[in-house]
């Protein structure tokens, strides 16, 4: 990160020969080395559980030993079919939640930025507030709301795919809103004015000018929304009373509660693989900073 501007080069020229004392040099060494040791320890701490899951997954069932005495892929082969089904349920819920949320949120972001809405601040803070309400409280409230709704409407939202998607949409909307909101606010209207001035309809302007400018921010927001929904346990656990038809994290969660088996580790290792792949593709597609920047 050191930039080679003229100033920083000038620094290195020995204009006045300053010599740091012995103590100062030693303390510098100690400081640099202790920083390295601390960082190394934290990095080890961060990757330890990942390594332990991946390592244990290569055991021969029913052994659970890390490091495994014999490497084997048996635990991967023994992953039950309904777990793959759960994996696809997770994918479907995450795609649906990210999609529905984008469809609802992007127009609303335009309205908030450009519409001179009365009570804009209030609306904005309400749209962000699912982040502030703890997920467990969100789960309890939506669960009880579905119970009440089922009592009134007669059909059961609970354990249904739609109910899950609705809850996940609520969960990811604040992330999509704040990412897209920032991009729209910094969007120069001159581009769109030029497009309209050249005779394009407003629909065409939106598709050919506005949307391409928004695309990087929208991609980052959608990936983030997808990951958050895909990893979610709390909402899915509360809102799918029938664990058999639930998402992968919930299936794994319930399996851990029941018994320990390297098959669980194999499935968990696969989810780690997915998250590593997502991290890499984010880095390639939009850069890691764009997912975290607000």
């Amino acid at each position: 990160m050191i930039d080679s501007t003229p100033e920083s080069l000038a620094m290195e020229q020995p204009v006045t020969s300053y010599r740091p004392g012995w103590w100062s040099l030693q303390s510098d060494h100690i400081c640099r080395w202790s920083m390295r040791v601390v960082l190394g320890a934290i990095v080890l701490f961060l990757i330890a559980p990942l390594i332990s899951v991946i390592g244990t997954s290569f055991n021969t069932p029913p052994l659970i030993i890390f490091p495994p005495p014999h490497l084997s892929l048996d635990s991967f082969r023994q992953i039950p079919d309904n777990w793959y089904q759960a994996f696809f349920t997770s994918l479907k819920v995450a795609f649906a939640a990210a999609g529905v949320s984008a469809v609802l949120t992007v127009p609303a972001a335009f309205a908030l930025v450009r519409g001179r809405l009365p009570g804009r601040e209030l609306l904005e803070s309400m749209f962000r507030s699912p982040l502030l309400v703890p997920q467990i409280v969100l789960s309890v409230s939506i669960y009880q709301y579905y119970v009440v709704l089922s009592g009134v409407l007669g059909n059961s939202f609970i354990s249904g795919f739609e109910g899950l998607v609705i809850a996940h949409t609520l969960l990811v909307s604040p992330y999509i809103l704040s990412t897209v909101f920032g991009r729209i606010a910094s969007l120069d209207p001159a581009y769109e004015e030029a497009s309209v001035g050249l005779g394009a309809s407003s629909a065409r302007t939106f598709l050919a000018v506005t949307l391409p400018i928004l695309r990087p921010a929208l991609t980052a927001a959608l990936i983030l929304a997808f990951v958050i929904s895909f990893d979610n346990v709390t909402l899915s656990l509360f809102l799918s009373t029938d664990v058999g038809s639930s998402t992968l994290p919930v299936t794994l969660f319930s399996a851990i509660e029941l018994s320990a088996s390297p098959v669980i580790f194999a499935a968990a290792a696969l989810t780690i693989l997915v998250s590593v792949l997502v991290t890499f593709s984010v880095e390639r597609l939009v850069g890691l900073r764009s997912v975290t920047a607000r």
């Binding site: 990160m1 961060l46 330890a48 332990s52 659970i64 519409g115």
Partner: protein, 285 residues
């Protein structure tokens, strides 16, 4: 392109929020004040019984105290770990880039997988105890699994990426020029840290600590797996009341208590840490 014709576009999201966010919040607050008439039922009489039961029950007291303790430990440790990480990501060149990828990778990993990893590592015959025994630090395996310690470790691990991302902007405010000037004027690395880096980042470290405290009060997945059912926490008690005992009013009241705790902590902490708290980019409870 500016003006009123954009206004209607807010309606779909607004309706969605009113129907599936505001109504549920009102329903659960209302339920928390209704009489418990049996599993899976909600009575019609208004009562403070549910809140009273929470106030006068030793198990719930334990749960609240454990929750506060866990949140405080997690907030302090992860904020302290976050500073060197964030600093290295910004000023560490290539190493910083890899570190950033690691942080994002951990953040994107499922909490279930991470908790599973810690469960095996912290078991009596697991990696951590094996290492400590081999190094001769301890003679007997430490009781690290299925207790409060394992929950603390797991929740700190999960909070470190959030802390790091939250401190990142403050570390970016420390410019390369400032560091060069400090070193050029003969300051040691310690001196540079105390006089240049820390003054510009400590506010951010404190405020991210508050944010993590608030988030951790409601952490569920990690303690549910790592606690082994032996540690009382408010979030676990809510789950138990709702999905094991089907006591809807009690679970709603507990949820309300959790929100009150969270708000109280945040307000109190804000009084001590005055700053434009930078919200973290990503919050993953």
């Amino acid at each position: 392109m500016n003006g009123r014709h954009w206004q209607p576009w807010v309606v779909p999201l607004l309706l969605f929020y009113v129907v599936f966010f505001l109504f549920p919040q009102l329903v659960f607050l209302a339920v928390s004040a209704l009489k418990y008439t049996g599993p899976g039922q909600i009575g019609h009489n208004v009562t403070v019984e549910n809140y009273n039961a929470i106030l006068h029950n030793a198990y719930f007291h334990r749960a609240i105290i454990n929750t506060l303790e866990l949140s405080a430990l997690t907030a302090i440790v992860s904020a302290l770990f976050g500073l060197p990480l964030a600093y290295t990501i910004v000023h560490g060149g290539r190493r910083g880039k890899y570190l950033f990828a690691l942080i994002i990778g951990v953040m994107f990993s499922s909490a279930v997988a991470l908790a599973l990893g810690w469960e095996t590592l912290l078991a009596p015959a697991g990696g951590v105890n094996g290492l400590l025994l081999a190094l001769g630090v301890v003679n007997h395996p430490l009781p690290l699994a299925s207790n409060f310690t394992s929950i603390v470790i797991g929740s700190i691990h999960g909070a470190i990426p959030i802390a790091t991302l939250g401190i990142l902007p403050a570390c970016e405010a420390v410019t390369v020029r400032q560091l060069e000037v400090s070193t050029g004027l003969g300051a040691s690395s310690w001196r540079t840290f105390w006089s240049i880096i820390l003054p510009q980042t400590y506010r951010s470290v404190c405020s991210i600590g508050v944010v993590i405290f608030a988030i951790t009060t409601s952490i569920f997945t990690t303690p549910a797996i790592l606690g082994g059912g032996r540690v009382a926490l408010v979030s676990l008690a809510i789950y138990q009341q709702l999905l094991t005992l089907f006591d809807y009013p009690k679970s709603a009241a507990l949820a309300a208590v959790l929100i009150i705790i969270m708000l109280l902590i945040t307000v109190l902490a804000r009084m001590f840490v005055r700053s434009g708290a930078s919200q973290p980019g990503v919050v993953k409870p």
